[in-house]
Symmetry: C2
Subunit: 270 residues, 2 copies
């Protein structure tokens, strides 16, 4: 039952279903769910929402507690601060982190915590490095993810494309998304691995509008230092990366302060 | 305990750890593990290997039974055979499937079944569409994945690149992988979404060799029809796609027949 619920976050599974699957009375399933609920809460795994009545059941909503979130961000900072990650031009090598299943799992759980009670129908990113992040979030929100591309391919069918100004380099770029990707009215969470001026994220916002869909939020793994106004005013970031000529400073982004507001923390305690 | 093991496949978790975490005697943890083992087996979730003795513990090894594998392949075929997926030029639209968390989870579990008892240190793919598949497999094998790219980026640091002949179009292409990605001697599982002549997969094989690493296997989601000899002789595919001028036939690939050999099936029954 634990496995079944964990693999289907945000979806209501009926008592009847469990009772048939495990050939047990609904009353004992109900009792087991109560135990699970307590365990999930005690371990900070997530919330188990139980819906009473004949049409009732249980829904697993993953979240990360503030303590765990802070600890994770600190761990990532420690590992990104290793000297051999510094690349010429003030860049930081972080592709290895974004290829480790345990790191991606935590990123997915964190961002899903942000959309605990908001409706999200799809996660969107642009190729290439945002994909693993989008996929992890999509798993924990249990919604599909879509990938916009700079080169539109024949296997995508007809596409919708937008031009946008890359904020940091002021070049005009183009991205395209398959016409079949998003339904009108869908609530779309935009994510990427890194944001500087926010131009790419702005491009994704334009794409969402072209599909008559709505932006549910913007989340990035890391933000870089940027002078001036960002194309995307509202976003969350797990990390802040500040590069100088000879080294890179990594500090926590705005995620923890934005997400663990008193309201939300009390919701998690329910 | 279920959640802890499910999130850390292929890793041995010690009895001592569980006993401290849950403040229970090792004997009761042991009993619980026996129950879990039975449940995992009965539900086809996977194997729970228990290692006896003071240094012992339990290791969760996910797998998919032959029945479930066949059913999944059939479901994917049914959904890919919808008429509106046909694209001009004999292509098939399948990006939506490879963006659904439940489909990706099953693909990951299936391919992980193939490497149940083989050592794999990393999963490799090439951008863009193989990434979600590589990530899912990496989750179930609990090893990192690395992404080769056609355009090497400044954020990858120094890279190793190879040229290869794209089997289907006979063009010469290039792919690069960050030098920091793979350790010498690593056993690498190569995956992609689609294979025609196998040129791209051959390019990845050359890359693996450049890193003094070994190819542990080659797995693709779908293979297309191809006349002549493939660059990659040994591979598994979940699907076979045969396009004609006005429609596309999707049939099962060689996965089920290659993987569910009598030896392996008896291993799963243990």
């Amino acid at each position: 039952m634990t496995r079944y619920l964990l693999e289907r976050p945000h979806r209501l599974v009926s008592l009847t279903f469990f009772s048939e699957r495990y050939e047990s009375a609904k009353s004992s399933i109900s009792e087991d769910l109560t135990i699970l609920k307590r365990t999930f809460k005690a371990r900070g795994t997530g919330m188990l929402e139980t819906v009473p009545g004949a049409a009732g059941g249980a829904r697993f909503i993953p979240y990360v507690t503030q303590g765990e979130a802070t600890q994770f961000v600190d761990e990532v900072i420690a590992s990104l601060s290793e000297a051999d990650r510094f690349l010429p031009g003030g860049y930081l090598y972080m592709s290895d982190l974004l290829g480790r299943p345990n790191v991606l799992r935590q990123i997915g759980r964190l961002i899903a915590t942000q959309y605990l009670s908001d409706e999200v129908d799809a996660v969107m990113t642009v190729a290439t490095k945002g994909i693993p992040i989008a996929q992890s979030i999509s798993e924990y929100l249990n919604v599909p993810f879509v990938i916009a591309r700079h080169d539109s391919q024949i296997t995508e069918g007809s596409t919708v494309s937008v031009n946008y100004v890359s904020g940091s380099s002021s070049r005009i770029e183009k991205m395209a998304l398959s016409k079949r990707s998003l339904a009108p009215g869908a609530r779309v969470l935009i994510v990427d691995d890194f944001m500087k001026g926010g131009g790419t994220l702005g491009g994704m916002q334009s794409l969402v509008k072209e599909f008559d869909a709505t932006v549910a939020g913007v989340a990035v793994f890391a933000e870089g230092a940027f002078e001036g106004e960002r194309v995307v005013p509202n976003y969350t970031s797990l990390l802040r990366i500040h590069a100088t000529n000879d080294h890179v400073d990594v500090t926590p982004g705005n995620f923890v302060e934005q997400i663990y507001t008193p309201d939300r923390v009390s919701l998690l305690k329910k």
